[in-house]
Amino acid sequence: MGFLTQTFNGLVGGSFYALLALGLAVIFGMLRVVNFAHGAFYMLGAFGAYVLLAEAGISFWWALLAVPVVLGLLGILLERTLIRRLSALDPLYNFLLTFGLTLMLQDVVKSRYGSQSNPYGAPAGLRGTVDLGLFDFPAYRVFVFGVAVLLCVGVWWLLTRTRVGTVVRAATERPELTRALGIDVGRWIAPVFGFGVALAALAGVLAAPMRAVNPLMGADLIIGVFAVVVIGGLGSVFGSVAAGFGIGLLQAWSEAYGPGLLAQTLIFLVMALVLLFRPAGLFGREELPT
């Protein structure tokens, strides 16, 4: 029983890795930008939920809808005004730009709300525990897992079963060829960036009831998410999701049954092994030379 509980718990923990890695993968695929600001958008998502509740009395459920939309639009604006300008240069410049953005966003939030953690609780209907047959589990965490799975499946459906998905996959894999086939790839870049940002924001809203809401909450998490993305294969959507849930599982198991030191270094250990033996990631493909 303990093992099953810990296993499910690992999947819940992996939900956040999966959602964040998914957004990073979609963005990287389309823009070839490693969006360092992803953690900051996650933080803004959680803060959005907190601010809406504390200053306007707006509930978790509305925040879950509104915050990703607003931050997604902000992402589109950001792509149009800043990121696009650097797209012709070495991707490193956009990495630096988003790193700078991260620091700015963190400091803006810090100067307005301070660096302490802010209170935010689970929505009224999800404060109890639910009986999952074999074990009880906090209802809110079950909900988070459900949302994460739904979103991952939804994005997979969007990418594989819709016209938009075909275009995004094509533009991700071979942008030049796709343009030469009459598709205005540029038109899709900002929305895809916005979509990735919205996913991060949504993960942030989901995190608010169960994690400390403070300006640095994304900064620590994003390093782990980068490792997940590397393990899954940079730009591989399926790989990111699989690696996200997989790392969540491994962490829970190693924390519960392994020595303390292993749990802390596991994610980076796995990353190092993957880089040694499969540099393109478990599900990644080698970049085609251009």
Binding site: T166, V167, R169, E173, R179, A180, L181, G182, I183
Partner: protein, 230 residues
């Protein structure tokens, strides 16, 4: 019709095309011959708008499209068949055929495509990179025909194909030509070129060094082979 005027292009410091002029009439098949490195692929990329560092002008049906973006050129009827066959690993064969928009007045229907290329129907759910080289080449051609492209820019479509498949490519090109499609064909296989082309341009070190009708091919054969280094 397609007309190129005073086209020059550079790779970094190195000039790869020097003041190229050429034209292809509507419904004509014209080959561009030359050794490796003569600038043939760069020329096609320039027409498509994919090569950044270039001067000169490209006219399509009387309009100057030099300032047009890549996807706008495609939408004006340019169909690119790249030298690597342009297969996506993440798209199925069927998705390859439906990905590009219809850009011309006479696009092939899916039925026509499947009839002409039965393999593309049986393999429709496979990732395109799992197809054989020949099948991938057929897919690249089918894709631009499905778009209804009026000007095909084919970059060595017969390279690496078996004689049987080369023959098949020839049939497709003749069939397209019969429907009024214009083709600019980069080709090293002279014998194949003579079976489909109306005219030939000879490119050497980025310059047009020869231009003759297919009917003159025998009188100019020595000239041609000398330039191709065969």
């Amino acid at each position: 019709m397609l007309r190129i005027e005073g086209l020059s292009a550079w790779h970094g410091e190195a000039q790869v095309l020097r003041d190229v002029d050429l034209f292809v009439e509507r419904g004509e098949v014209v080959t561009l011959c030359g050794r490796n490195g003569a600038g043939k692929t760069t020329l096609l990329r320039c027409v498509m708008g994919l090569h950044g560092n270039q001067t000169g002008a490209v006219h399509l049906d009387g309009d100057d499209i030099t300032a047009r973006k890549v996807h706008q050129r495609a939408r004006r009827g340019l169909g690119w068949v790249p030298d690597d066959r342009g297969a996506y690993a993440t798209l199925t064969v069927a998705e390859h055929l439906t990905l590009p928009p219809v850009v011309g007045p006479a696009p092939w229907s899916l039925e026509q495509v499947h009839e002409a290329f039965p393999a593309l129907y049986t393999r429709r759910a496979s990732p395109a990179t799992k197809l054989s080289g020949g099948e991938q080449q057929m897919l690249a051609l089918a894709r631009v025909l499905r778009m209804g492209a009026t000007v095909l820019l084919c970059d060595e479509p017969t390279e690496g194909l078996s004689p049987l498949l080369v023959q098949q490519v020839g049939e497709i090109l003749r069939r397209a030509k019969a429907l009024g499609v214009t083709v600019l064909l980069v080709e090293q296989n002279i014998h194949f070129a003579t079976t489909v082309a109306d005219r030939h341009y000879l490119l050497a070190e980025g310059r047009i060094v020869g231009h003759f009708d297919n009917t003159d091919i025998h009188s100019r054969e020595a000239d041609l082979l000398a330039h191709l280094g065969i």
